[in-house]
């Protein structure tokens, strides 16, 4: 019985400490930094970009900083034109925005690996990564683009549908998943 009573007291004490700690952490977490990573392609160019925005409070006795890394690696060992890391160091208590864009043009079909990373630091309390070390980096697949169609045997661009001959051309659907034939007029 005394043992159970001691155990209960321990549980209550632990609960009390947890509540106090949680309250302290809540009170100390009134400031937030945000990050956003995106990528998009328009058919000829693949873009990758990152934004970090923070507005941590404090006094300017200490320095705050943000790092943002963005990069693209193409299937043939190509890289983005503006791959790299941007860095911003500011006095504590100063709002800041850090943006970096990179891109690869003349896309070859294949897999494009995107590297993104970011973290914030304070000379007083240390650094905080936005991403875990093992977090998977996104990959973008670029499909082949059909520029024309020819007959393997004759090399002709004439299109046949069954036994009917079409004088026309192929146009890719908006989602690039299907090609449709259109007669020339």
């Amino acid at each position: 019985m005394p043992i159970r009573s001691f155990a209960l007291r321990q549980v209550h004490f632990a609960a009390l400490v947890s509540t106090l700690l949680f309250g302290l952490m809540q009170a100390a977490s009134a400031q937030t930094a945000y990050t956003y990573f995106g990528n998009s392609a328009d058919g000829s160019t693949l873009y990758a970009y990152t934004i970090t925005q923070g507005s941590m409070s404090g006094t300017s006795s200490y320095t705050h900083g943000y790092y943002a890394t963005i990069g693209i690696t193409g299937p043939n060992g190509t890289y983005g034109t503006n791959d790299g890391t941007s860095y911003l160091s500011i006095n504590a208590g100063t709002p800041a925005v850090l943006r970096r864009d990179t891109q690869i043009s003349s896309l070859a079909p294949g897999s494009y690996r995107i590297l993104r990373h970011g973290w914030a630091f304070c000379t007083f309390v240390g650094s905080f990564p936005f991403y875990d070390t093992g977090e998977q980096q996104p990959t973008v697949m670029v499909p082949p683009i059909i520029h024309g169609v020819g007959d393997n045997t004759t090399g002709s661009n004439t299109i046949y549908v069954g036994t009917f001959r079409l004088s026309g051309h192929l146009r890719l659907g908006a989602d690039r998943s299907r090609a449709h034939s259109y007669p020339d007029h």
């Binding site: 956003y36 873009y47 006094t59």
Partner: protein, 144 residues
């Protein structure tokens, strides 16, 4: 200890997109898209590419480009306004910059919504909601 604190505290939009508020999502999205007024053809192309999934018309993209150029200029003014005044002097409450940015985002949203073709803003909003998966928020312990 610090590492475990940040892991627990970090809000990951890919895991919990609903925990990224709309005001933060639009703020980041607009910041990522904005190009200067009178953009170069390359800057205009880049902005357009970032809106590809919203399937907007050229006119709608032109208006968004103009609204976001304005957003960028006013946002830069806000950053300037909230700089410390010098020395080791602390600036005012942190929420002031946040409040100002929220107001700016809200006004920009309203201006875009009022001018876009019917259905276009809904598509833009779907894109922003989707992009929450690529956003993260990290509450910090007090940095003094």
């Amino acid at each position: 200890m610090r590492q475990s604190f940040t892991r627990q505290a970090r809000i990951d939009g890919s895991q919990n997109p609903t925990l990224i508020s709309d005001r933060i999502a639009y703020r980041l999205f607009f910041l990522a898209l904005a190009e200067p007024r009178n953009p170069t053809p390359e800057q205009r192309k880049r902005l357009s590419a970032k809106l590809t999934l919203a399937a907007l018309s050229g006119d709608d993209i032109d208006f968004i480009a103009s609204a976001l150029a304005d957003y960028q200029e006013r946002g830069t003014d806000l950053l300037r306004k909230h700089q410390p005044t010098g020395g080791s002097q602390a600036i005012g409450p942190n929420s002031t910059f946040e409040d100002d940015m929220d107001t700016l985002v809200s006004r920009t949203q309203s201006a875009i919504k009022a001018r876009l073709a019917p259905g276009a803003f809904a598509r833009l909003d779907r894109l922003v909601q989707r992009e929450k998966a690529n956003m993260k928020a990290m509450p910090f312990p007090q940095m003094e």
